[in-house]
């Protein structure tokens, strides 16, 4: 985890409040959801009451100690009032030490020199450094949050991070790291604009050049891509990497991504490991599903897939009482443990019917299936397609490499075409990959859709996209320069369909109007008016949208 982000956040507060020195603003930040801007807004609304409510007043110090940031420190920082006694405090804002020559610590009852006694500036309860250290060590080990209170009974002043770190500096290094992690974890969990990258960094074994996790700030690091309207960019370099690298080790990326635009569910890319993920839930990007749907789906997949396979291979439901039965012997004559029903494992019929008229070798279609198994089958249907696309995606990664090699080969051997001529191929693979990705994520979405008109419409669009994706995928396998025009058209169709699809499925769930760029079919004509395929598609698009609108209207 990255401690520097914590420092940066605190510095932000200081700069927002125009403080000369960085304030140990942990508590203040926490109060305002770690958002310096909110602090400023609150402060600007009514500076005096802000100071009153969030910074303890010197005069009332004994009566109320709930506000852990001392007014005096803010006042001195802000230079609002000119009080002489405050200047001395500013020099060491986090702790005060006793001026006495000798003192007795009220925790360990040991005699200590004044230099060994420390107190939080805000409350002034003096205890010895060793006790403070033990106190924080014990709190870090129990790890419940990071707001560590003063040791004095009924004193709820929270120790700032600088104070805690000062006390822990002689402890185990791990302990200090753990404290920092506690703080940063809390910061990330509570901040809307921070997220931990879920990706992994792969590197060749032996060559442990992991880049250390770091924070990406928008202007230096992170590339932000907006959700639906991202324009495809092509970037490729002629690096002859073998598609299957040597033995690799992977490590969690764990970089902290700091979003500089409005937070929400959107696609972001980590510049440390190039993982694309949904910013809101830190899982692989999952349009058209919303975060809760994909979470449900992933949980289901984890739970079910293995169990499902086992159940399918080893068990059947009792035809009478529907209890799930596992076969534990070779004979097909089964007796249900629960209802004592006797049946044939092969055909599922009552065993009594097996006699002279034995006919379970004959295929008679599937008799009435019980609901539990049907639910399982339904899930299997979607899961199978989901996994299938996921596997195809892996092949497409290899395909991109192959295409790069192919282009390189063609150009080097002067077999026709220049780099510009062949550019379309890489673009096409990228379009294909994107579309396949979207397609993969439409299956969980469909699984959770109710069986109604909307679902029919959805499945129609899904089928269209799937067909076009397979077409493009097929065309790319044996491509040459003459296909350039056709491929470009196919690409456009796939990309358009993909966008339509994401947009429509999002509007299905949110019942919003369709985004304008879907209704705007103008740019289709530019693609090639002569092509019947495009014209055909245009008509179909019109029909879809009309149909979709009528469903939306009905629902409203």
């Amino acid at each position: 985890m990255d401690w520097s982000i914590m420092e940066q956040k605190c510095q932000n507060v200081s700069s927002v409040l125009k403080l000369d020195e960085p304030l140990d603003a942990l508590y203040l930040l926490k109060q305002f959801n770690w958002n310096p801007q909110t602090i400023l807004n609150e402060y600007n609304k009514d500076p005096s009451s802000f100071v009153k409510s969030y910074f303890s007043d010197d005069n009332n110090n004994n009566s109320k100690k709930t506000s852990p940031v001392n007014k005096t420190s803010l006042v001195s920082y802000l230079n609002i009032f000119n009080e002489n006694k405050l200047t001395s405090l500013a020099s060491h804002s986090f702790a005060i030490k006793s001026n006495e020559l000798e003192a007795c610590c009220q925790i360990c009852y040991c005699a200590k020199s004044g230099q060994e006694m420390m107190a939080l500036e805000q409350c002034g309860h003096l205890f010895c450094v060793d006790c403070w250290k033990m106190h924080f060590e014990s709190l870090v080990n129990n790890a419940s949050g990071h707001f560590f209170e003063c040791m004095q009974t009924k004193c709820s002043v929270v120790a700032g991070k600088n104070f805690v770190l000062e006390c822990l500096k002689t402890s185990d290094v791990n302990l200090m790291e753990r404290y920092k992690n506690l703080v940063v974890n809390d910061l990330i969990n509570e901040s809307e604009d921070l997220q931990v990258c879920p990706g992994e960094i792969h590197s060749v074994k032996g060559n442990s050049q992991f880049s250390t996790p770091r924070t990406h700030v928008a202007n230096t690091g992170i590339r932000l891509t907006s959700t639906v309207t991202s324009t495809p960019t092509v970037s490729f370099t002629f690096k002859t990497e073998s598609p299957e690298p040597a033995e690799t080790v992977s490590q969690k990326c764990d970089s902290v991504v700091w979003l500089q635009s409005k937070p929400g569910a959107k696609r972001v890319m980590c510049t440390n490991c190039d993982t694309q993920f949904c910013f809101l839930c830190a899982t692989p990007y999952h349009a058209p599903n919303n975060c809760s749907t994909i979470r449900k789906w992933n949980l289901k997949c984890q739970d079910d897939s293995e169990t499902r396979n086992y159940l399918l291979v080893h068990t059947q439901d009792c035809p009478k009482c529907k209890v799930c039965i596992e076969k534990n012997g070779g004979c097909s004559h089964m007796t249900c443990n629960r209802c004592k029903h006797e049946f044939c494992w092969v055909c599922g019929n009552d065993w009594k019917t097996h006699g002279p008229t034995y006919d379970c070798n004959r295929y008679k279609g599937n008799p009435e299936q019980d609901t539990a198994r049907e639910a399982l089958n339904r899930y299997t249907h979607y899961y199978h397609r989901w996994i299938n696309h996921s596997n195809s995606l892996k092949f497409e990664k290899a395909l991109r490499q192959q295409c790069l090699l192919k282009i390189q080969h063609k150009i080097m051997n002067k077999e026709g075409g220049t780099l510009v001529d062949w550019e379309f191929l890489i673009e096409a693979v990228d379009v294909l990959t994107r579309a396949r990705y979207t397609l993969q994520y439409t299956y969980p979405y469909a699984y959770y859709l109710d069986n109604n008109e909307t679902k029919m419409l959805f499945e129609n669009i899904q089928a269209e996209l799937e067909r076009e994706v397979e077409n493009l995928s097929h065309s790319l396998e044996k491509v040459n320069l003459n296909d350039k025009f056709n491929i470009r058209i196919q690409m456009s169709i796939v990309e358009k369909r993909r966008r339509t699809f994401t947009a429509t499925s999002i509007s299905m769930t949110t019942e919003l109007d369709l985004p304008k760029d879907i209704l705007d079919l103008e740019d289709w004509s530019a693609l090639g008016q002569g092509t019947s395929k495009v014209a055909d598609y245009q008509i179909k698009m019109h029909n879809y949208i009309r149909a979709l609108y009528s469903t939306v209207k009905k629902r409203v």
């Binding site: 009220q106 925790i107 040991c110 033990m134 014990s138 209170e149 009974t153």
Partner: protein, 153 residues
């Protein structure tokens, strides 16, 4: 073992023996200086008046960073004390502060006997009885005191 005891525990024990709190006695075990045999006398004007209640108190290794563990050995009818003698008291849990001592903990327990708090119950049955019919509950508490806390000493 005892010569390795932290100064804090030694001094606390000394003071407990030299200036005992009225109505409370705490004596360290002969073989384990971190284990105390405690007797608290029922506060006057409470249903526990006249009874003497045995408790055990143990100082964990992290003490004073972690609270002492205290348990009633004598059966007692109280909404914040359960059948096993465990006590529901904030300073024994999340409100513990290293500045508190054995002495203050025992004083708090004594105060808890004077002022039961059925709104923050440990034993739901007792707490309900306390809320629904307080006089009946107090009667039961007095009976239990007579039965378990008077003869045993």
């Amino acid at each position: 073992m005892s010569n390795l005891l932290p100064t804090r525990i030694l001094k606390e024990t000394q003071r407990l023996m030299q200036e005992p709190v009225p109505g409370i006695s705490a004596i360290p075990d002969e073989s384990n200086a971190k284990y105390f045999h405690v007797i608290i006398l029922g506060p006057s004007e409470s249903p526990y008046e006249g009874g003497s209640f045995k408790l055990e108190l143990y100082l964990p290794d992290e003490y004073p960073m972690a609270p002492p563990k205290v348990r009633f050995m004598t059966k007692i009818y109280h909404p914040n004390i359960d059948k096993l003698g465990r006590i529901c008291l904030d300073i024994l849990k999340d409100k513990w502060s290293p500045a508190l001592q054995i002495r203050t903990v025992l004083l708090s327990i004594q105060a808890l006997l004077s002022a039961p708090n059925p709104d923050d119950p440990l034993d739901n049955q007792v707490a309900n009885q306390w809320k629904i019919n307080e006089s009946e509950a107090i009667k039961t508490a007095k009976e239990w005191t007579k039965k378990y806390a008077v003869d045993s000493n």
